[in-house]
């Protein structure tokens, strides 16, 4: 069983606009009317659960949820066939807003809320349920930002418990929470560098810098490290080598980048769970990410579309293993 943990889930509000006009003069008033909008459950682990469900794989989504937005998240997940197992908290679940401008959808505007603090007794309640779920878990996904008051060591703790219970861990996080969790030996790591293109103190300003950061993360305990190199390609680093995964799709053909990274990681997990080779998992993962980015849907887990995308993807080994 796959368990996904999203400690700070969200409602995603997506607006499509013809043009986004900013008011530059106080007297002037501009109204930007959305041509379309969508509301759905969000957060990295939640997105992965949804994509896995689209691929026919069951998962249990866990984390903290609260208020009106929390009910929206849970309702959407249930409608999409995901098993929900959240702890209800007194704080309201956050709402994240994305604006996609016509012709410029590949550079979306993201406005993400920080989320509500979580009380200590709710953390204890969550830990009890998490420990129980580990008895049946083969994979545990720890993904996304943390609630404002959460100890950044929590991903380390959750990953360690998962490993002790015999489950493999997929980690998608950033900052201190990511760095500390490496020590617990996660099988797959995808650093979240959206807010800060830095990793382990270094800038990710070149392909070599990305590879160096990946190697460092492997030497600190990660199994497979996946780092976004550019929008249409990723770098994968393991103890055995370095791979570049690239699609021939043009950036300007991408219509929706929300959740594309999560779709990629869910695709990789889907294949690894089926004991696929690393190269096949990487190819399928990027195909799932690109299928999502080319779709108007927030997440596209249509196996046929993903298979079609795989034809346009190259996976090439570009470096040796970590010494």
């Amino acid at each position: 069983m796959i368990v996904t943990v999203t400690l700070n889930p969200a409602v995603d509000r997506i607006y499509w606009v013809d043009s986004l006009r900013m008011c530059e003069v106080v007297e002037e008033e501009y109204l930007t009317r959305a041509t379309r909008s969508a509301t759905c459950a969000g957060g990295k682990g939640v997105n992965m659960s949804i994509l896995l469900a689209q691929l026919g794989v069951e998962s249990v989504a866990m984390g903290f949820i609260g208020g009106f937005a929390g009910r929206t998240v849970v309702g959407d997940l249930r409608d999409k066939g995901v098993t929900t197992h959240f702890v209800w908290t007194r704080g309201e679940t956050r709402t994240n807003v994305t604006v996609l401008e016509k012709g410029r959808a590949y550079v979306p505007i993201f406005i993400d809320e920080a989320g509500s603090p979580v009380e200590e007794r709710d953390v204890e309640r969550f830990m009890k349920r998490y420990q129980r779920m580990l008895e049946r878990a083969t994979w545990v996904v720890l993904a996304g930002s943390l609630p404002p008051n959460m100890d950044p060591g929590i991903y380390y703790d959750l990953a360690r418990r998962a490993r002790e219970a015999g489950a493999r861990v997929v980690l998608s996080a950033g900052g201190e929470a990511l760095e500390r969790a490496l020590e617990a030996g996660p099988a797959v790591v995808k650093p979240d560098t959206r807010a800060d293109r830095r990793l382990l103190g270094g800038d990710l300003d070149s392909r070599d810098a990305v590879i160096a950061a990946g190697r460092e993360m492997v030497s600190r305990g990660a199994g497979i490290v996946l780092i976004s190199h550019d929008i249409t390609g990723d770098i994968a680093v393991t103890r055995d080598g370095v791979w570049e995964i690239q699609t021939s799709v043009k950036v300007s053909d991408l219509r929706n980048l929300i959740g594309a990274d999560d779709a990629l990681l869910a695709g990789v997990l889907y294949q690894l769970d089926r004991e696929a080779t690393l190269e096949d998992a990487l190819r399928f993962g990027l195909a799932a990410g690109i299928a999502t980015a080319e779709s108007d849907l927030k997440l596209c887990g249509d196996p046929q579309q993903i298979r079609a995308e795989m034809e346009r993807i190259t996976v090439k080994q570009i470096g040796g293993g970590v010494q």
Partner: protein, 144 residues
């Protein structure tokens, strides 16, 4: 149609040591009137509803009366609720819990809804671990 196809895959449940006050918060947050009760192993051991808590807040002799108008209004319900707020729900849950398994069919669920008057049926696996729930609306929506 079997229960596996009908059920809502929701594992929301409470442990038997959960305080009454916390359960009221969960009822309100999750917008559900009933809740399965599980033990430390995640196995179903009981069931508790808003009705059970309302009954617990009333005087013990209430059910012997024909009408609530015989009870003097001295904020009895409120005072009793405050008194039991920190108590574990195990004191008020029903242990004769009605449930279905994933392999049961829709008629079995409908029968229990009608004969036992339940709004929600917990769904358990072979080891009696909670795997979901069937609401009355699930039966209506999925079978239409």
């Amino acid at each position: 149609m079997n229960i596996r196809e009908i059920m809502t895959k929701d594992l929301t449940a409470v442990e038997d040591d959960t305080p009454v006050k916390e359960l009221i918060f969960i009822f309100e947050s999750a917008e559900t009137p009933d809740m399965p009760v599980i033990n430390d192993d995640g196995r179903l051991i009981g069931f508790i509803s808003e009705k059970d808590l309302i009954r617990a807040a009333l005087p013990g002799y209430f059910e012997m009366l024909h009408s609530a108008s015989f009870i003097p209004d001295m904020n009895q319900m409120s005072r009793k609720l405050v008194k039991i707020a920190e108590e574990p729900i195990s004191k008020y849950m029903r242990k004769d819990v009605v449930f279905v398994t994933e392999d049961d069919d829709d008629l079995r669920a409908a029968e229990l809804v009608i004969r036992k008057g339940v709004k929600i049926l917990p769904v358990v696996d072979k080891e009696r671990r909670l795997v979901g729930r069937v609401r009355r609306i699930d039966l209506l929506r999925k079978l239409l």
